[in-house]
Structure formats: C-alpha cells, structure tokens
Amino acid sequence: SQQGEEDPQALSIQEGENATMNCSYKTSINNLQWYRQNSGRGLVHLILIRSNEREKHSGRLRVTLDTSKKSSSLLITASRAADTASYFCATRLYNQGGKLIFGQGTELSVKP
C-alpha cells in the first residue's frame, strides 16, 4: 500500500490565494520530497526536507515536516494560474536505497 496519503485530493482556488496541501506517512523516513506533475507526464522536483529539518523555503514554496505526527505540508503562496498541476509527496525510507514512495497526489487548480 502507499506510504503517503495526501489531502485534499483536489483543491480549487483563485489566483493570488495561498494553497496548502498535506501529506501523512506511516513509517520513519530519511527524507520527504515534493514533486509537481503537469498533464500526467514527467515529475518535477520542488523541494526536499530531511528528517532532522522542520521547515524549508524555496521561492513561493514553504514545506514543513512534523516527524512526531508523521506529516508534512506544502504551502504555495500568492498562487498563479501556472501553478495548476498535481502535487505529490514522496518519502524515502531508511535502508531502502533511493526509492521513493509516493502519495496519491493533490490536484490543484488555480483560476485566473
């Protein structure tokens, strides 16, 4: 079964609003990564947060990690229509090589 569960499954907002997506996982992780996917094809890496980190920023993106609750959130501030995509969290487990285990994803729609 999938390690990560994301909510909401779908999110629709207006341009300029903030979008928050949440990810929960089941077992201890080495790191957690967020990816974006447009049109059901290749994924683009957004940000990686290690298990000993609590928050990370990259441009308009802010990721938090709470290992005690086994959860992470991705915040996109001042959203744009171009942010419309599916967003996936992926976890890398200890002693599991480099493979990633993906959540089911959140489909974000930003309306102009």
Binding site: R41, G42, H45, Q96
Partner: protein, 114 residues
C-alpha cells in the same frame, strides 16, 4: 545539459506481445529508477539500479517484468506477454546516487495494451 529521456513516448501493443521501454539517464547519474503510474494504483516504484546492479527489484509486479542497465547508463524495461492491466505511464528517473538526492524524471512512456 540534457535531461532524462525515454522512448518511445507512446506505445500501443496487442495483448500477449512483448514490449521494450528505454531510458537514457542524465550523464553521470549512477542511480536509475523505474516507476509506473496508473489511475488505479497511483505512482508505484518498480526497480532501482545503482550502476549496473539492481539492489531493489521489489516493485516488479510479476516475472513478466524485467529490466537491465548496461554501461552504467541506458536502461531497458521489458514486459513480456503484455496484459491489459499493464497499461500505464512508465516513468524513469535518475539521480547522482541512491542516497537521498532529488530524482530527475523523464517524460514517461505511455503504454496501452489492447
């Protein structure tokens, strides 16, 4: 430099035929991964290569699936006797090593089994 490339971009085949999917990773990346994405199952890990060795094949769904990597570069995923449930987008990714670095994904191969 060039990103991860995959070929073909689309493949339509008849049930029972064999197919080969190719992945060209980013030059110098030692780790290579295959994933599969389908509506019902989401994004699933299939197999991981470090160099030419595959230390983790745990995601291959059946013995009809196999993969190899040669010269620490190109990888081929082979599906024998395809079934309709094999229809999915097959994604390849590479990274500098298997240890916690970001993975760079190719555009995928959309496989349709009729």
């Amino acid at each position: 430099g060039a990103g991860v490339s995959q070929s073909p971009s689309n493949k339509v085949t008849e049930k029972g035929k064999d197919v080969e999917l190719r992945c060209d990773p980013i030059s110098g990346h030692t780790a290579l991964y295959w994933y599969r994405q389908s509506l019902g199952q989401g994004l699933e890990f299939l197999i991981y290569f470090q160099g030419n060795s595959a230390p983790d094949k745990s995601g291959l769904p059946s013995d009809r699936f196999s993969a190899e990597r040669t010269g620490g570069s190109v990888s081929t995923l082979t599906i024998q006797r395809t079934q309709q449930e094999d229809s999915a987008v097959y994604l390849c990714a590479s990274s500098w090593s298997g240890e916690g670095n970001e993975q760079f994904f190719g555009p995928g191969t959309r496989l349709t089994v009729l």
